[in-house]
Symmetry: C2
Subunit: 138 residues, 2 copies
DNA sequence: CTATGTATTTGTAGTGATTACAATTTTATT
DNA sequence: AATAAAATTGTAATCACTACAAATACATAG
């Protein structure tokens, strides 16, 4: 029926994560929405389907996913953390007016500077801020 | 005597900021240390010289500097904000072991992608994580 | 030089995201 | 079914940060 759930299950098992209902649903949300959600957004959406869901579970699960390298926290200076599934190199643009976050492709590997010889780089982030076209034209 | 204080005073006046003792001291700390400090670090250091200093003042002052474009918050996913004086394009590398933050030069302007045509980019951040040479060799 | 108004600083109390922890529930194994 | 292990849940605590009002320092007019 639902191929996505199957894929998620396999992905979790590969990382030694027991594919519980909550974990699958949270990962499913991240992949389907692909909207850089806050914990609040994830919780509010899923609690409709899983009335017993606890916010703590959302936190626990996201931290587990981060630890296992399935998800990474977005580095944006708001007071709320946001989360992203790990895909190939891309940066994030946040509109300072509407708050929307856009992905854009970026060849991050191209510009590792000489100064970082001898450093072991585990994670690279590129993050721009400004105004999106919608907000400029309104 | 102290040319730096003079420069800071002029810089603040240029931005229509009254150069109070606390404001000068905070800016002086940022420039001299150049260590991407947290509010805690700034407060703990300056309270020795200014015993009446309030943490609220540090927050207020940093927010004022950010508003006026003298300082920018570092975008690092810790729970504590860090601050940086505004210089030319550079990225930040945070060692996941010792927590030290290193600057490195980066030509950020070179890789603004096509997808962001029509966007107005106000601020660009590049942020890497990993291990620094010291921690690798120990 | 003093009086009055304005800006700055300060301290306390509050907010809100995140975590610690213990209890409950679910899942796996014998 | 019985027991052990893991996952989920709810509550309470923590901690960075902010709101707000009182106190202080500063500036300007008379």
């Amino acid at each position: 029926m639902d191929g996505l759930v199957g894929k998620i299950t396999a992905e979790l098992l590969k990382k030694n994560i027991k594919p519980s209902y909550q974990r699958i649903k949270i990962m499913e949300y991240l992949i389907e929405k692909n909207n850089h959600p806050t914990v609040e957004m994830i919780y509010n959406h899923l609690v409709k389907e899983i009335p017993t869901l606890s916010k703590t579970t959302v936190y626990n699960t996201l931290n587990l996913f981060i630890e296992k390298g399935l998800v990474r926290p977005l580095t944006i200076e708001d007071n709320e953390a946001r989360y992203d599934t790990i895909i190939s190199n891309h940066g994030h643009f946040k509109c300072q007016s509407c708050g929307e976050i856009y992905d854009f492709p970026v060849e991050i590997d191209d510009f590792v500077p000489d100064k970082l010889q001898g450093f072991e780089i585990a994670d690279k982030n590129v993050y721009f801020k400004g105004l999106c076209p919608k907000c400029i034209s309104s």
